[in-house]
C-alpha cells in the first residue's frame, strides 16, 4: 500500500478513469492551466489535453448546465466546483435538471455526471466560504451524495461515482486534502451506498461522515482512555443511506451520537436519528444525541470559529451523556 494524500488519491482516481474511458472529461474553473485551485487536477491537462480538461469562465450555472447537457448526450462529465459554496449559483441545474431528467423523461434520458469539489468548514474563511451543504442535496430524490473521509475512500468512491449512471454530488473535505493515508496499489472501487466501521466498539456508536470522521476518531481515542469503547461508523455515502449498517452498529452498542459539521436544523443527523428511533427503537438504551456545527454563519475570528465548529470534546461529552456518565 502506498501512503498518499487525499488530494493525490482523488487525482489518481481522475487519472485512472480518464485513461480508462474517453467519455470522461473534467470541466471547471482553473482545472487545467492553473492545475486546479486545490491541485486535485494537477498534471491532468498535460496528460489528457485541453479537450478533456476544460477551463471555464466563472459561470457556475452555465458550465454546470453544459455538463448536464453533455451527460444527457452520453458523455461522463466531472464538473469541478472550486468550492461547493459557489455551486449555489448552479443549484438549478443540479436539482431541476440533473436530478429530475431520468424521471421526467420516463426513464429515457440518463445523466451520468459527477459534481465535485471541496465543502465543509474551512479555516478562517468566514461565512460565505465555510459551510456544509450535504443535507440540501441529500434532500433531493435522484441525486447520490458522497462524502469520503479518507484517501482510500476518496479514490475508490470517486471512481465509482464516475462510473455511476446517476448524477453524483461528491463533496470533498476542504480540510482533508492534506490528510495522508494508505491507498491500495491495485485498482479498486469503493461501492456507493455502503458505510464502513472505521473503529469497532461496543459501548456507543458515533455516526459521522467526511471531516467529522476524524473528529469522532479523536473522541473515540479519548473515550478509550476512560475504558469506553466507541464504534466509529463512517457513512461515506449520505444518499442512499446505509440503513442496515447504522442499525447493525446500534444493535451492537445500543447508544448513538450523530456527528456532522453542518447546521443542526434538518441536517443529515436528523435523518439518521429518525431512522434509529423508527426502526431501532427497541435497540436503544438512551435517546440519540447530535453534535453539529453552531446554527450561525461561520465567524472569521478564530476563537469564535472554534466555538462554531464541532470538536472531539463535544463528541466525548455527548457520548458520556448517552452512557449516563455525565
Amino acid at each position: 500500500m502506498a501512503i498518499m494524500t487525499y488530494r493525490d488519491a482523488l487525482n489518481q482516481a481522475l487519472r485512472e478513469e480518464m485513461a480508462r474511458d474517453p467519455d470522461v472529461f473534467l470541466m471547471g474553473e482553473e482545472v487545467a492551466e492553473y492545475d486546479g485551485a486545490y491541485k486535485v487536477s494537477r498534471g491532468l491537462l498535460k496528460e489528457f489535453g485541453p479537450a478533456r480538461v476544460v477551463d471555464t469562465p466563472i459561470a457556475e450555472l452555465g458550465f454546470t448546465g453544459i455538463g448536464v447537457g453533455a451527460a444527457m448526450a452520453g458523455l461522463r462529465p466531472v464538473i469541478e466546483f472550486m468550492t461547493w459554496n459557489f455551486a449555489l449559483l448552479a443549484i438549478d441545474q443540479i436539482v431541476n435538471s440533473a436530478a429530475k431528467m431520468h424521471y421526467m423523461s420516463g426513464g429515457q434520458v440518463q445523466c451520468p455526471i459527477v459534481f465535485r469539489g471541496p465543502g465543509g468548514s474551512a479555516l478562517q474563511l468566514a461565512a460565505q466560504h465555510s459551510q456544509a451543504f450535504e443535507s440540501w442535496y441529500a434532500h433531493i430524490p435522484g441525486l447520490v451524495v458522497v462524502m469520503p473521509a479518507t484517501p482510500a475512500d476518496a479514490k475508490g468512491l470517486l471512481k465509482s461515482a464516475i462510473r455511476s449512471d446517476d448524477p453524483v454530488v461528491f463533496i470533498e473535505g476542504e480540510m482533508l486534502y492534506n490528510q495522508k493515508g494508505e491507498v491500495p496499489d491495485e485498482e479498486y472501487l469503493t461501492p456507493l451506498g455502503v458505510a464502513e466501521v472505521k473503529r469497532s466498539g461496543t459501548d456507543v456508536t458515533l455516526v459521522c461522515h467526511s471531516k467529522s470522521v476524524s473528529v469522532a476518531l479523536k473522541a473515540a481515542d479519548q473515550l478509550a482512555e476512560e475504558d469506553i469503547a466507541a464504534e466509529v461508523l463512517d457513512l461515506r455515502t449520505i444518499t442512499p443511506l446505509d440503513r442496515e449498517a447504522i442499525l447493525a452498529s446500534v444493535a451492537r452498542t445500543n447508544r448513538a451520537v450523530v456527528v456532522e459539521e453542518g447546521w443542526s436544523f434538518a441536517g443529515v443527523g436528523a435523518q439518521v436519528v429518525d431512522l434509529i428511533q423508527r426502526e431501532g427503537f427497541d435497540l436503544l438504551d438512551a435517546p440519540v444525541l447530535r453534535v453539529t456545527g453552531a446554527d450561525v454563519p461561520m465567524p472569521y475570528n478564530k476563537f469564535l470559529e472554534r466555538a462554531a465548529k464541532i470538536d472531539p470534546a463535544g463528541v466525548v461529552a455527548a457520548a458520556k451523556q448517552v452512557l449516563y456518565l455525565s
Binding site: F25, A51, T56, P57, A59, L61, G62, F63, T64, G65, I66, G67, V68, G69, A70, A71, M72, A73, G74, L75, D92, Q93, N96, S97, M101, H102, Y103, M104, S105, G106, G107, Q108, V109, Q110, C111, P112, P141, G142, V144, S164, D165, D166, G193, P240
Partner: protein, 335 residues
C-alpha cells in the same frame, strides 16, 4: 409591436410533397393544440398547458433543416416542436393525459415531452435552464467529433436570464455547433418585451459574444428554414454557433389559465396578428403557385383532424401508470 407587413412566403423550388408536408405539419400542430386546449378545459389534461398556436412555422421550418443526428431542446411550450420532430401525436397527447403510453410514461406531462430516439431532449420547465443543456449537447457533439448540431428553442423572455448569457458566451468561446432559436412572441407571460428588455432588437445580443445572428420572419416557414439552413451549415462546417430571432406571435394566452388576449394586450392586437397567420400564409402561397387546390386542402384538414382525433381516443383509452411506476426511474441504477 405590430405585425410585419411582409409579403406572403415565397414558395421555393422544393418538391411539392415537401412544401405540402410543411403545411400538413403546421396544420397538425394547430389542430393538436386546439384539441389539447379542449381536453384541458374538460379536465382531461392537468397542470400547466402552454399552447403553441400562432408560432407553428418556427418549429416546422427549423426541423425541416435538421437531420436525425441533431439534438433538440425546447421550453415548456414544446408540443409543436415534438410533433414537428416526429414524435407521434398519440404519444404526446397521452403524455398530456398523464397516461402510461405517453412519451414520458405519464411522469412528465405537458412541459416534459421527451423522445430520446429522435434526440428530442425535452421540454424544460424552468425558463432558460435548457439553454446551457443545449450548449452541452453541442459540446458533446464536438467532443465526439460527430457532425451533429444542437438546436435550442426558447422565448424572448428567457434572454434576460443569466443562463442564456453564460451559455452563449461559452458556446461562442468554445465554438460549439449550437443554434439558439429565440421565438420572440412579444410577451414573457404577460410582460411585453419593452417592459423587460433594455434592447428590442434582440439579435444584437449576439454581438456581445461575437456570435452570428439573424432576424427572421417567424411566420414564414421558408424564411425560417432558410435561416436555419444557414445556421446549420455554419455549425457543421465551421463549428460556430448562431442566434436566430424568430419574430412570431401567440394567439392564445401564456397558458390555459389566462384568456387569449388577457389584460396585457388588446383583442385588436391579437386580431391584427392573426392576419399574418403562418398556416394561411403558406396555404395561400401554395394555392398561388398551383401546388394546392381546395380539394387537397380539405383533404389535409380532414387528415389532420383524424390524426388528432385518433390521438385523443388513444389517450382516453390508455391506462394510467401502474402505481409501482411511482418509484421507478428515480435512479438509473438500483439504489
Amino acid at each position: 409591436m405590430t405585425p410585419d407587413a411582409g409579403a406572403p412566403p415565397a414558395v421555393t423550388d422544393l418538391p411539392r410533397d415537401t412544401v405540402v408536408g410543411y403545411l400538413r405539419q403546421m396544420m397538425l400542430i394547430r389542430k393538436f393544440e386546439e384539441k389539447a386546449g379542449e381536453a384541458y378545459s374538460l379536465g382531461r389534461v392537468g397542470g400547466f398547458c402552454h399552447l403553441y398556436i400562432g408560432q407553428e412555422a418556427v418549429a416546422v421550418g427549423t426541423m425541416a433543416a435538421l437531420g436525425p443526428e441533431d439534438w433538440i431542446t425546447a421550453s415548456y411550450r414544446e408540443h409543436g416542436h415534438a410533433l414537428a420532430r416526429g414524435v407521434s401525436a398519440r404519444a404526446i397527447m397521452a403524455e398530456l393525459y398523464g397516461k402510461a403510453t405517453g412519451s414520458s410514461k405519464g411522469k412528465g406531462g405537458s412541459m416534459h415531452i421527451f423522445d430520446a430516439s429522435l434526440r428530442f431532449m425535452g421540454g424544460h420547465g424552468i425558463v432558460g435552464s435548457h439553454i446551457p443543456l443545449a450548449a452541452g449537447m453541442a459540446f458533446a457533439a464536438r467532443y465526439r467529433k460527430t457532425n451533429a448540431v444542437s438546436v435550442c428553442f426558447f422565448g424572448e423572455a428567457a434572454m434576460n436570464i443569466g443562463a442564456f448569457h453564460e451559455a452563449l458566451n461559452m458556446a461562442a468561446l468554445w465554438k460549439l455547433p449550437a443554434i439558439f432559436i429565440c421565438e420572440n412572441n412579444g410577451y414573457g407571460m404577460g410582460t411585453a418585451l419593452a417592459r423587460a428588455s433594455s434592447i428590442l432588437d434582440l439579435s444584437r445580443r449576439a454581438y456581445s459574444y461575437d456570435m452570428a445572428a439573424d432576424v427572421v420572419d417567424g411566420q414564414d416557414v421558408f424564411a425560417v428554414k432558410a435561416a436555419v439552413d444557414q445556421a446549420v451549415d455554419r455549425a457543421r462546417t465551421e463549428s460556430r454557433p448562431t442566434l436566430l430571432e424568430m419574430k412570431t406571435y401567440r394567439y392564445v394566452g401564456h397558458s390555459m389559465s389566462d384568456a387569449a388576449h388577457g389584460t396585457y394586450r388588446t383583442r385588436e392586437e391579437v386580431e391584427e396578428y392573426r392576419q399574418r397567420d403562418p398556416i394561411r400564409l403558406l396555404a395561400d402561397a401554395l394555392r398561388a403557385a398551383d401546388l394546392l387546390d381546395s380539394a387537397a386542402l380539405e383533404a389535409l384538414v380532414a387528415d389532420v383532424a383524424a390524426e388528432v382525433e385518433d390521438a385523443i381516443t388513444f389517450a382516453e383509452d390508455s391506462p394510467d401508470p401502474d402505481e409501482r411506476e411511482l418509484h421507478t426511474d428515480v435512479y438509473a441504477e438500483p439504489r
